[in-house]
């Protein structure tokens, strides 16, 4: 029954987050700091992953499409759609759950264990609002941006691999990209990435904020945060696809 207990505490934490900031300037500073941490801190890994994912998709799609009846530009279409629909939002967010999620959980866990959260509370700061809200809002702002960057880089990676492996020319690839393009796919991907961003930031915040014990528990909490976030991302992915596609 601890799961219901956890869900209850999680919801109370979210509710407790919404209170009037004691000082707008300090909250803004914290928000900007979190944006840099989450956004720029993960840009490198996101870029590397998306380029390779795009490249691999091109090569594997070409490998699977052996029929001479299918024009090679179809490869570009398939790469475009899989990158936009699935790889950019879901895979990137799974990776971010590991990178940003574990950072959030261990930062808050450390603050809890070393009584820094208590020190803030004693000063009269609402720690849920000050420590958690800026992280979630920063994630909601930065992660969809990262996903859009991942889309572009993934498609670009596919284009590079297409020519490098002699599968299709860049002009053919570009032609394929424009065929049967459904703008709704991008919107769907963005909806997914907003949901995932919320998961990636709030779940680790929950596990970090409520850590009990010492340094060992911080490690455990951040592992648990990543595992639970990943499962919830995949679950939400399925649910949203079933509902919105």
């Amino acid at each position: 029954m601890t799961i219901f207990n956890d869900i209850g505490r999680y919801l109370l934490m979210i509710k407790g987050m919404f209170s009037k900031p004691e000082n707008h300037k300090m909250y803004w500073k914290e928000f900007v700091h979190q944006c840099t941490e989450i956004g720029f801190g993960s840009l490198g890994i996101v870029a590397i992953i998306s380029v390779f994912i795009g490249a691999v998709s091109t090569i594997q799609t070409a490998y699977q499409l052996v029929s001479p009846l299918i024009p090679p530009s179809t490869i570009a279409q398939i790469v475009r759609d899989t990158v936009i629909l699935e790889f950019a939002p879901t895979l990137v967010c799974i990776v971010l759950a590991g990178v940003a999620g574990s950072r959030i959980a261990s930062e808050l866990g450390n603050m809890r264990v070393s009584e820094q959260i208590d020190a803030l509370e004693i000063m009269g700061v609402n720690t849920k609002t000050y420590l958690i809200l800026p992280k979630i809002v920063a994630a909601l702002l930065m992660i969809p941006m990262l996903v859009v960057i991942a889309m572009a880089l993934g498609i670009w990676g596919g284009r590079l691999a297409g020519t490098a492996a002699g599968i299709l020319s860049t002009s053919m690839y570009d032609k394929g990209l424009l065929e049967f393009f459904v703008p709704y796919n991008v919107i769907f991907a963005l909806i997914k990435s907003y949901v995932f961003s919320f998961i990636i930031s709030s779940i680790p915040a929950f596990y970090g904020y409520y850590v009990k014990g010492g340094a060992l528990e911080i490690g455990r909490a951040s592992t648990k945060a990543v595992v639970v976030s990943c499962i919830l991302i995949l679950f939400a992915d399925y649910l949203l696809s079933a509902l919105l596609l």
């Binding site: 000082n23 300090m26 820094q116 208590d118 509370e121 009269g124």
Partner: protein, 275 residues
């Protein structure tokens, strides 16, 4: 003034604080003393509301604190400065930013003014040239002093210090004790200090609460403490042989005889460390 009435606190069924009451007056240093594990930290955390007591009341300036809403508690907390036993400095901020944090959060002062105030309190806790250092680069005693500086930077009405001079050399200890005493009188603070350092007790103890295994065993002033007949308190105060000798000498002077009770083996059996 802080009033504590019949506080009880247990963790998972294990009672840690039982029926503790105290009146802690403004403008004086109220000390909670007792051996390690006697419940000083838990008691202090109950008083500031970091732990919810199982039963009992706490009043700040006559106002019920325990049953207050979050907003009302926050208003009281803005007047509380607290030094944690483990310092609780913000790792991600340097010394200057740590001490400036309460100023930035709760005042609209200019940066210049805040910086002046930071340097002023750093000076008072006897620290120099540490502004740009991060907590990880400080010694334990330096952390303590930075944390104390942060606790007093807003001139709180209520000051809580959990072992302010553990890990400090005797000289710096004295500086810190004197500082706590000074500001307590200067700003008419209600100061609550946890300690097991008898020097501090004799230096600043206006009101002393002796905790023994989670209960209030004795209370009184530092004058009372020397003449107290409470055996547990006495063996706590005169735990070292040197102090015991000093006590004997004093008794010799006062009564003309050395108390026959003195016997190290006996003491070890009663209160000494059981390994």
């Amino acid at each position: 003034m802080i009033e504590v009435h019949n506080i009880k606190k247990s963790f998972d069924g294990r009672v840690v604080i039982e029926d503790v009451s105290a009146i802690m007056k403004a403008g004086q240093c109220n000390l909670i003393i007792g051996s390690s594990g006697s419940g000083k930290t838990v008691l202090q955390k109950c008083i500031v509301g970091l732990f919810d007591p199982d039963s009992g009341n706490i009043l700040y300036g006559g106002q019920q604190f325990t049953s207050m809403s979050r907003e009302e508690k926050t208003n009281i907390r803005k007047e509380i400065g607290m030094l944690f036993q483990g310092s609780a400095l913000f790792d991600s901020l340097n010394v200057e930013e740590n001490i400036m944090f309460p100023l930035s959060m709760f005042t609209t002062d200019s940066h210049r003014k805040k910086l002046d105030r930071v340097n002023e309190v750093l000076d008072r806790v006897n620290l120099k040239d540490v502004n740009r250092k991060f907590p990880a680069e400080l010694s334990g005693g330096m952390k303590k002093r930075v944390a104390l500086a942060r606790a007093i930077v807003l001139n709180p009405k209520y000051l809580f210090c959990d072992e302010p001079n553990s890990g400090l050399d005797p000289q710096t200890s004295l500086v810190i004790d004197k500082l706590i005493k000074e500001i307590t009188i200067e700003f008419n603070m209600t100061t609550v200090v946890n300690t097991h350092d008898m020097n501090s007790v004799m230096e600043i103890g206006d009101y002393i609460l002796y905790m023994y295994q989670g209960r209030k065993e004795w209370e009184g002033s530092k004058k009372d403490i020397i003449f107290s007949k409470n055996e547990r308190l006495n063996s706590f105060i005169f735990a070292s042989e040197f102090l015991q000798d000093a006590k004997d000498m004093r008794m010799l002077e006062m009564t003309g005889k050395i108390p026959s009770l003195r016997n190290m083996d006996d003491m070890m059996r009663k209160d000494g460390p059981s390994l």
